[in-house]
Amino acid sequence: MAGRQIYNPDGFKNVEENGKITGYQFQFKAQYYRGFTLSIVRDIQVNVDGEDAAREDIRFTVNGETFTLEEMRTVVDSDYRWEFGDYATVTVQKEGGLAKGAHHIKAMQIIAPSYMPFQTEALCEADFEIA
């Protein structure tokens, strides 16, 4: 059952630094109808091919600035919001990145808008290819 686009189909890739592959990356939109400060992002959980990424290995980039999930707890700057309808880039630090070929991602966006009694948990799944 298809839904609206969550992941950027062109966003899945390995990340290289100084000639070495240090991790993999994807881009997705917030499953919420409003832009918000990063400080209300409780967690981004990433599972690729059945393997959970560690929270400390996750990096989150909006508008050219990158944060850990821990740092995001105090990011309230207007320039670094997760804007409605815009992709945020998630990088998972992983030596060697992902193998070429097909993969499956299950990522959870856990966001806590102040007016909601409970945090929202949006499971975002997709198949993708590393070229």
């Binding site: 059952m1 298809a2 839904g3 609206r4 686009q5 939109k29 109808y33 409003r34 832009g35 918000f36 400060t37 400080s39 209300i40 409780r42 707890r73 105090t74 309230v76 207007s78 320039d79 919001r81 804007e83 409605f84 309808g85 815009d86 806590a112 808008p113 102040s114 007016y115 909601m116 009694p117 409970f118």
Partner: protein, 351 residues
């Protein structure tokens, strides 16, 4: 009573098209104008990047007022979100929350809005502490009455007390027409079917809703702990019995989701609008699915508009489309839905 009922569109209605990049903010205004609506309701945090900075610039405001002129639209309501848990280590203090509310009042005012929507989660003392500033800026704070809340209830009474105590002319209610649902919307039901819910379980849930409607819903109480208030409300309205029946009928995830979601709709008497009309200056015309024949699946539009006429309502009915979330797997067309809803309202208002 002489009434002056105008039509507005809340840009919330176009969220799916905006999300997909099919419409931008100006595009939403353009589509709004095409429906014949003369008012626009804005969620600044939804469609203005780098909120609130652009609103502070002359450039953006000039562009905004230019668009309003171009599309012949009046700002009907500014929807605020009080991010009082912006940090995870605490709830903002009363003073900080009041500062945040004042900021939103100021932003609303800068964009030409006379009404500001605040959510049920806004503590009463935050509203009370902002009334002087609201009066100074001539912006009315409207508490959105959204399912499962209702007018003419213990919950609303608390706010009525505050109005009487302070004598304020700048606080009132914004009913969301989702509190006038005769039944669960068909789009929710059809989605449940696509997800594998059984007709038996669907019937249990629908019958349960019909019973609540007939008996009269037990109203929700005022409690700053909204999770608690919500849970007590559901239990008082037979949620346990309904869930047990669904369980017994072998209900799976789709059945249980349908059952749980059914509590986000409610019915209250349109008479409540007449009783409280002195405090109603804006309305969210919530809707879920308007068919080709301009009949909406759940919200009792004709009865509600009739009550507004009888009450002498002077204000906007602001289309707020919330059916898209149940159609994302098969395709959403908010533009067409809003067009139909505006026509349905036009007929009810002019009929």
């Amino acid at each position: 009573m002489s009434y002056d009922i105008k039509r507005s569109v809340s840009l919330y209605s176009y969220q799916d098209e905006y999300y997909d990049g099919k419409l931008d903010l100006e595009g939403c205004l353009r589509e709004t104008a095409k429906t014949g609506a003369t008012g626009v309701e804005l969620l600044a945090e939804q469609m203005i990047r780098r909120f609130p900075l652009p609103i502070e610039t002359q450039e953006f405001r000039d562009q905004w007022f230019g668009w309003l002129k171009k599309y012949n639209l009046e700002p009907s309501c500014y929807d605020a979100f009080l991010e009082n848990k912006i940090y995870d280590n605490r709830t903002l203090s009363l003073g900080e929350q009041i500062n945040m509310m004042k900021r939103d009042i100021r932003l609303a005012s800068m964009l030409g809005f006379k009404n500001l929507r605040t959510l049920v989660s806004t503590p009463m003392d935050v509203i009370e502490g902002s009334l002087d500033y609201a009066a100074e800026m001539d912006v009315k704070i409207g508490l959105e009455v959204h399912a499962p809340f209702s007018l003419n209830s213990g919950w609303a009474d608390g706010y009525m007390e505050m109005i009487h105590k302070t004598g304020t002319k700048h606080f009132g209610f914004i009913p969301d027409m989702g509190i006038f649902c005769r039944n669960i919307p068909d789009v929710l039901r059809d989605k449940a079917r696509r997800q594998g819910a059984s007709e038996e379980c669907i019937k249990i849930v629908d019958d349960s809703y019909a019973q609540r409607l007939e008996k009269g819903f037990v109203k929700i109480k005022y409690d700053l702990n909204l999770g608690k208030a919500n849970m007590e409300y559901r239990m008082a309205n037979g949620m346990k019995e309904m869930m047990d029946a669904v369980e017994k009928a072998g209900g799976g995830p789709a059945d249980k989701a349908y059952a749980g979601a059914s509590f986000t709709y409610s019915w209250s008497e349109p008479q409540d609008l007449i009783d409280n009309i002195d405090y109603i200056f804006h309305t969210h015309a919530k809707f879920y699915n308007v068919h080709e024949d301009y009949v909406e699946t759940a919200v009792a539009i004709p009865e509600v508009v009739e009550a507004f006429k009888k009450a002498g309502y002077k204000g906007f009915l602001s289309s707020e489309y919330e059916g898209g979330e149940h159609l994302r797997d098969v395709g959403v067309d908010s533009i067409e839905q809003v067009r139909r809803h505006q026509e349905a309202m036009r007929r009810a208002i002019e009929g």
